[in-house]
């Protein structure tokens, strides 16, 4: 059976890589980085899934649980991701205030 | 006293059915309506009623969930109209025109009176 969750998260990562390579707008590139972040989180969580398992909160009725370690990793990674994204966006705002443009080509031309 | 719970369960499923029907109407209206404001009206009014009915039905199915579902219903009742009004106002200010068949524009009249 095809593991479609892995394929979907790999597709998210690859769309992010495509945005970072092909686009020249800085905010678009940050959207691509955020998308790669989301894809990696989905990949980690789906690797930890156990079929028929429940969430790792013990309430006495179940014995089969999913893997708790990727969830603990991703829980902190999401918060770090949004704060780093805010930092990158503030740097982009600084560049825009100084050069008047968001496109990488024009910013590079401005420097010369 | 088993038949009371049976009746409650039947009423719960009836409420869930009514709610799903209103949600279905709301989604059909979302596709059929001509402009932003009409769409927002179906999407809020019908959805509020549908969601409240579904929540009340779930509360009837298991009486332990009744307080929780009533609190959730209260918050939907508080937030959905506010969000809809803010969205409608923002789209009016952004310059989205009314549908050509619309006849009442209270907001514009109020602006002109000021």
């Amino acid at each position: 059976m095809i593991p479609y969750y892995y394929l979907a998260s790999v597709a998210l990562i690859v769309i992010g890589i495509y945005i970072v390579i092909a686009k020249k707008n800085l905010i678009k590139i940050i959207i691509g980085l955020d998308m790669m972040d989301t894809g990696v989180n989905l990949l980690l969580i789906s690797i930890g899934y156990v079929k028929g398992g429940t969430a790792p909160i013990e309430n006495g009725n179940y014995t089969l649980y999913v893997d708790p370690i990727p969830q603990a990793l991703v829980l902190t990674a999401i918060v770090i991701g949004v704060s780093v994204m805010a930092l990158a966006l503030s740097i982009v705002i600084g560049l825009y205030k100084n050069t008047g443009s968001l496109e990488l080509d024009e910013i590079r031309r401005e420097r010369k | 006293m088993n038949w009371i719970f049976l009746i409650l369960e039947i009423f719960g499923y009836i409420f869930i059915g009514i709610g799903s029907f209103f949600l279905l109407l709301a989604s059909i209206g979302l596709l059929r309506m001509p402009d932003v404001y009409n769409r927002m009206q179906t999407a809020t009014k019908a959805t509020t009623l549908g969601a409240l009915s579904v929540l009340f039905g779930i509360g009837l199915l298991d009486l332990n969930w009744m307080p929780k579902s009533l609190v959730i219903a209260l918050f939907i009742l508080l937030t959905a109209p506010v969000g809809a009004s803010a969205l409608a106002r923002a789209s009016y200010k952004a310059g989205i025109a009314l549908w050509k068949g619309s006849v009442v524009d209270k907001y514009k009249e109020e602006k002109e009176e000021e």
């Binding site: 969750y5 597709a11 020249k24 905010i27 989905l42 918060v79 | -």
Partner: protein
């Protein structure tokens, strides 16, 4: 095909469509909103994969705060990609 597979496939297809829209559209505001839709669907997928903690976090941060921060940034700069 059980219910798990069906719901997952529908959500994954919607997520990929939103991701492609976020990649290709010229309007940065629309791209940011499409990114918020991707985050929201991913949070539902987390819930399906039995990770409620991560689902709460992703729904409140990915679809709420990060979208708001990105919209503020677009407001400080310009809206259209050249």
């Amino acid at each position: 095909m059980d219910l798990f597979t069906l719901v997952s496939l529908i959500l994954i297809i919607a997520m990929l469509i939103a991701a492609v829209v976020a990649a290709e559209i010229k309007d940065l505001l629309s791209a940011a909103i499409a990114m918020g839709i991707v985050s929201l669907i991913v949070s539902i997928l987390f819930y399906i994969l039995q990770a409620p903690d991560v689902a709460i976090t992703e729904a409140s941060i990915g679809a709420g705060l990060s979208l708001a921060i990105m919209i503020f940034a677009i407001k400080h700069t310009e809206r259209w990609e050249k």
